[in-house]
């Protein structure tokens, strides 16, 4: 079953002579539980694509359907609800809220939604992410790897339809990179979490089920790896 359907997605920045077409008529679908890697050189439109799927940015034209629903038919306020319920975002630079501790950061989307935090999921997640004993640290008291694990925790906490990760290891050393990727893979394999990861790293891309290569805002290739 396709959980994500992207049709004719186009995004243009600027107007007239200075217009840049970051995404140019991109269409593809992602099945539930799939692990997709998106690769491409700088400026090929990877991040733009991810932000569209995540409801952070609106496209110039085209549609994104998640669970069959058109994401951009929603108002800004509904889009905020969409972001906290349906997607989990992981960034290269973590983007944790500096004034909240680890647990508060992880629970942020759930709490903003006004739902109860699943205690079991939280303790389990803290264990899996190796953040036990660090529950009440502020982001600046954590290492980069730890901060990224908190970010993953925040993305997974709500059991979103899809987790979107933008170069999640781009800012980390190889040991931490490997750990982060294994965590993400684990969520994919064990929880059936649909996962879209942007990466430069070919090794990481090759661990995915499918690799989509972007070039100048278009899909250059769409290869099923396994």
């Amino acid at each position: 079953m396709d959980i994500l359907q992207i049709e004719h997605l186009t995004k243009t920045y600027g107007t007239g002579d200075t217009a840049v077409r970051a995404l140019d008529d991109v269409s593809f679908t992602v099945a539930a539980g799939e692990f997709v890697a998106i690769i491409g050189s700088s400026g090929s439109g990877k991040s733009t694509l991810l932000h569209m799927i995540g409801g952070v940015d609106r496209p110039t034209s085209g549609t994104v359907r998640l669970n069959g629903e058109d994401v951009f038919q929603r108002s800004d306020e509904q889009l905020a609800v969409f972001r906290r319920r349906e997607v989990g975002l992981v960034y290269q630079f973590y983007n944790l809220v500096p004034v909240l501790d680890v647990v508060e950061n992880m629970c942020l989307p759930v709490l903003m939604d006004g739902r109860a935090v699943n205690e079991k999921r939280l303790t389990n997640m803290l264990h899996v992410l190796g953040l036990e004993g660090r529950e009440h640290h502020l982001p600046n008291q954590l290492s980069g790897g730890q901060q990224q694990r908190v970010a993953i925790g925040r993305a997974l906490m709500n059991a979103p339809a899809v987790v979107l990760a933008d170069e999640p290891t781009g800012n980390l050393d190889s040991r931490n990179s490997a750990e982060i990727m294994s965590l993400l893979r684990k969520s994919n394999k064990e929880l059936g979490q649909t996962l879209i990861v942007i990466t430069h790293d070919e090794d990481i891309a090759l661990t995915a089920d499918r690799v989509i290569a972007l070039e100048d805002g278009r899909i250059a290739s769409d290869t099923r790896v396994r």
């Binding site: 630079f93 502020l138 600046n140």
Partner: protein, 1025 residues
């Protein structure tokens, strides 16, 4: 310098293979200019904050400039006032001569700026008959004549070296043989005869009344005072020894400025009579003994050995230089300095005025500098923390601490280079405008005829620049040092400036389980804020808890704004209140007053009969005054006195400690014998009192003899002075007006008080000494002339309906108010009121119609007062006084409001910088929250909650500070003005709250616009370096 930089940054090791010799050309320069360019671009990138900071610097500099310029302008105004009335001379040389003047020119050289000479031709005695109203002598001076051949470079040519007398009519003498006299001599008829000086005939004679064109003959001599020890000394304007009257015996009048008073006086070197034509009259000048006549500068004649006085000014830069010059000229002393003017010019070591103004300026300047330092420090702190990552990066690239510090100082220099000149221009322009608007008010305060205009001295420009630069340096130094401490690591770590506060760390330490962060139902974070306001409130609260320091800065800047705004309002109220207290009119608020009395010469010569001219003329005069154009209402009160006896029921019970005859104005003994003040009012006033029910209906007719008695008095009981009620209002009884009996061989008796009892004193007409005077009890010395029904009333009720003021009535006890008509028609009452040498005074009060010319009405009132046997004594122009008071209070308020407004603007700029920048620094955090699913509404509520917290704390703190300041101001003001109420200034608080909340809102809206304008995607992407 640049090469030194490089060494500082890399130590003494060569960088890579870089050879130091090569660096002389391009590299160091590039290094240097890179930082300057970096700074300029940082400033350009933050256009709004840069602008706000520049405006802040400009406002502070401008205010400083304006304060100093205002002080120097005031000083200049005072100096001009002194120049106007006293001339620009610095040194006066009495009894000088040509030889000394030649030496002066030689010693002073080019420093001699202006020089004028005035000669004293001597004095002529009036005849003994004339002396009574003309004074003993007529002194004759030449008009001052300015000498050529001096530098005249000080720019004060608009003023005279020593002013000529002020003309009242006619013109000043232009050639020998012309004279101007003081205006009091106009119309006088001079009689020949002996002068008061033994054996000397009158030296001033003229035919007919003196007028322009009259001829007056003067025989001028030199007054010489003789002392007990056989020495003698000249008396006169130019000798510095002043006696207004002839010295006979050992009891001279005037000011004995020698240790032992002179015993006799002679007139010596008397010239032959010389005739002068009167060409004008001038205002009297009290400097010389007696009245002064002026003749032309080239007038010949006069007493033998005419005396010369030289007045000169110099371009000496210091008091020391000037005194040295004078010392050289007159080693023995004997030169006078124009200390008043030199004080205002800042030249004397005695700088009392200068210090007062200086302290005033210093206090204001200190406030301004403090506000400026706070603003600039905040701006730089924000600028530095915003660029922590950039500094970290620069540091990782090898920038030394010194270089990092330099970038901040360069920033300060750039901001200062724009802000300081801008501020100077603004300040000068603002002060010029303020003086243009309020120059008249200042002139009134300073007492000069011309307006006070802006006057800037070089030192105050220099001081402003110095203070502004110092404030800028001090403000930039701390942030600069902090910039230097930024390490390379900071460039890599995010959110480096968010550190948990100690309190938050304690809270976290207590939390064990991960679930401790959540409420019991796991739906909310823990804590009160989340329970009350959900996630937005929780986030807001946490932000404030974590960055407590930043919050404090914001709260403080809000509080300071509130304090400044409220203080400005309160001070305004207090000053207008003070003006109101000082100038608030009585109940019958009149604009103009004229007062008259019986002509003193007819009174003195005993020509008066049993009637008073003033009393007779009062109704006629009032009618003439009431018909003057521009008069909307007129009333009179004739003030007289009488010996009286109050009937038993009216005798006041005096409070303990009040002694009749000595405690304030209480002059009534226990048996009711009294020295009463009597106020006679016109028919209309009496009718008004009757209509108001103050006068009982039976006595409503002003032709019926009756009186009102004031029931309260202001008196001292020996401890405190205060208003005391002596009688119940409404008490009625009678008062007997007593007339004193004459005794053969004795003059008119006097009533005097002793031991709480009055008595009549008779002095024999031919008595040589007072010991033969006779004291007679009042009963035996008087007879009842009239019996008058009396009702006691409160003075406050009375004051509302007549032109007798309540204050006047409370000043004396007993104070009677009677209808003038009935008194005039009652021979008995007249006999009592006019016995002895009593002369009533009449006060005519006028209220003006809108737009009436007060000066013109006053002139016509003076004409209207002309009546046989009546002398007009003077006028009071309350309207002009109030106008002056208003001009002064307006002036003070303009300056105060400007000052407070600019301070408030500085505070507002501070709030804007702190709040807006604080928000903008959190762009990424906001983006993270929104990407994690925070909706627009929740986001706004979070910001609102944060601002509400700032505002609440800022306003509470500001209110407390403002009230403290108000209390201090109130106490200070209460020292000089009583009756000021202390109240919570709700209006000003509300206004201040509104302004501060508006600025807060504007700052936040601006900041959010700016952060929203940034693409959410961009913000998330990260390292906006």
């Amino acid at each position: 310098m640049a090469a030194k930089h490089l060494r500082d940054s890399i130590g003494d090791r060569p960088l890579l293979n870089h050879r130091p010799n090569d660096s002389k050309g391009v590299c160091p320069q590039l290094n240097h200019s890179v930082f300057v360019r970096y700074t300029l671009r940082s400033l350009a990138a933050n256009r709004v904050r840069t602008a706000v900071t520049v405006v802040g610097i400009a406002l502070a500099t401008g205010l400083l400039m304006a304060v100093l310029a205002s002080v120097t302008s005031l000083q200049e105004g005072l100096a001009n006032q002194s120049r106007e009335t006293g001339g620009v001379w610095q040194v006066e040389l009495r009894e000088t001569d040509d030889a000394e003047l030649a030496r002066l020119r030689e010693f002073a050289g080019a420093r001699l700026d202006r020089l004028a000479i005035r000669r004293d031709l001597g004095a002529a005695p009036f005849s003994a008959d004339d002396a009574e109203h003309c004074g003993t002598y007529l002194s004759v001076l030449t008009l001052p004549q300015e000498q050529d051949g001096t530098a005249r470079s000080r720019g004060d040519l608009a003023y005279e070296v020593i002013p000529s007398p002020t003309l009242e009519s006619g013109r000043l003498p232009e050639r020998d043989g012309e004279v101007v006299l003081t205006s009091n001599l106009r119309g006088a008829e001079l009689a020949p005869g002996a002068s008061e000086l033994p054996g000397v005939d009158a030296g001033v004679t003229a035919e007919g009344p003196l007028a322009v064109g009259s001829e007056v003959t003067l025989s001028l001599g030199r007054r010489v005072a003789h002392y007990e020890d056989g020495t003698s000394q000249e008396v006169g304007a130019e000798s510095g020894v002043m006696y207004q009257s002839v010295i006979v015996g050992t009891d001279p009048y005037g000011m004995p400025n020698v240790e032992q008073g002179p015993i006799a006086e002679t007139l010596e070197g008397v010239s032959a009579p010389q005739t002068y034509t009167v060409v004008g009259f001038v205002d009297p000048d009290w400097e010389t003994p007696g009245y002064t006549a002026y003749v032309s500068a080239d007038a010949a004649g006069g007493a033998a050995m005419p005396r010369e006085t030289a007045y000169f000014s110099t371009s000496c830069a210091s008091y020391e230089e000037l005194t040295e010059l004078v010392q050289e000229l007159r080693p023995g002393g004997g030169a006078a300095l124009n200390v008043g003017l030199m004080t205002y010019e800042g030249l004397t070591p005695d700088r009392l005025i200068f210090d007062t103004l200086g302290m005033f300026a210093a206090t204001l300047a200190a406030v301004v500098v403090a506000a400026a330092v706070s603003l600039i420090t905040n701006a730089f702190t924000i600028s530095v923390s915003e660029r922590t990552r950039q500094f970290g990066l620069l540091s990782s690239l090898g920038a030394s601490r010194r270089q990092l510090r330099h970038t901040v100082l360069v920033e300060a220099a750039v901001l200062g280079a724009v802000g300081i000149p801008l501020g100077m221009a603004l300040g000068l322009a603002g002060a010029a405008v303020a003086f243009a608007v309020t120059g008249t008010g200042w002139a009134r305060m300073v007492g000069t005829a011309s307006e006070v205009t802006l006057s800037v001295r070089p030192w105050c420009v220099g001081l402003t620049v110095l203070l502004a630069v110092l404030a800028l340096l001090v403000s930039a130094m701390v942030p600069a040092v902090r910039a230097g401490r930024v390490s390379a690591v900071d460039a890599i770590r995010s959110a480096a400036d968010v550190r948990p506060s100690r309190r938050l760390r304690r809270v976290f330490r207590r939390r064990r389980s991960p679930l401790d962060d959540l409420s019991a139902d796991r739906r909310r974070p823990r804590g009160l804020a989340a329970r009350l306001g959900g996630m937005p409130a929780f986030l807001a609260r946490r932000t404030l808890a974590v960055s407590a320091g930043k919050a404090r800065v914001a709260v403080l800047s809000l509080a300071v704004s509130v304090t400044l705004l409220v203080t400005a309002g309160v001070v305004n109220d207090m000053l207008s209140g003070a003006v109101g207290v000082a100038y608030g009119g009585g109940a019958f608020s009149y604009d103009l007053e004229l007062y008259t009395a019986d002509d003193s010469s007819t009174v003195a010569e005993g020509e008066k009969d049993a009637r008073s001219a003033v009393l007779d003329a009062s109704d006629g005069t009032l009618g003439r005054i009431a018909s003057i154009d521009g008069v909307s209402a007129a009333a009179y009160v004739v003030q007289a006195a009488a010996t009286a006896r109050l009937s038993e029921e009216l005798v006041p019970a005096l409070p303990g400690g009040v002694v009749p005859g000595s405690s304030g104005g209480v002059n009534v003994s226990e048996d009711g014998t009294a020295s009463a003040s009597v106020y006679l009012v016109d028919d209309a006033s009496w009718h008004a009192l009757a209509d108001a029910g103050v006068v009982p209906a039976d006595n409503a007719d002003p032709a019926r003899l009756s009186a009102l008695l004031a029931s309260t008095v202001n008196a001292s009981d020996g401890v405190r002075y205060g208003e005391r009620e002596l009688l119940g209002a409404g008490t009625s009884g009678t008062v007997e007006l007593l007339a004193l009996d004459a005794r053969e061989g004795y003059g008119d008796p006097l009533i005097a008080w002793g031991d709480g009892e009055p008595a009549a004193y008779y002095v024999p007409t031919d008595a040589e000494d007072a010991s033969r005077q006779v004291k007679v009890p009042v009963d035996e010395a008087t007879h009842v002339a009239a019996t008058v029904p009396v009702t006691a009333v409160s003075p406050d009720d009375l004051g509302e309906h007549s032109s007798v003021s309540a204050a006047q009535l409370k000043g004396d006890c007993p104070a009677l108010v009677m209808p003038a008509r009935a008194v005039r028609e009652s021979a008995g009452a007249l006999e009592a009121l006019l016995d002895g040498s009593r002369t009533p005074w009449a006060y005519y009060h006028v209220r003006l119609a809108d737009g009436a010319d007060d000066a013109e009405v006053l002139r016509q009132m003076d004409d209207a007062a002309d009546a046989p046997g009546v002398e007009s004594l003077g006028t009071t122009n309350l309207l002009a006084q109030q106008r002056d008071a208003r001009a002064m209070s307006f002036t003070v308020q303009v300056f105060l409001v400007c000052f407070a407004a600019i301070l408030a603007l500085i505070a507002v700029a501070n709030v804007f910088n702190t709040i807006a920048s604080g928000m903008m620094l959190r762009t990424r955090e906001f983006a993270a929250l929104r990407s994690a699913g925070m909706g627009e509404r929740a986001f706004r509520r979070m910001i609102l909650a944060e601002c509400a917290d700032y505002a609440l704390r800022g306003l509470v703190l500001g209110t407390v500070l403002a009230l403290v300041v108000e209390l201090v101001l109130w106490r200070a003001m209460s020292l000089s003005v009583s009756g000021l109420a202390l109240a919570v200034p709700w209006g000003h608080l509300a206004l201040a709250f509104a302004v501060v909340v508006a600025v807060l809102a504007a700052s936040v809206v601006y900041a959010l616009r700016k952060t929203h304008a940034l693409n959410l995607v961009e913000a998330l992407r990260a390292e906006a370096l």
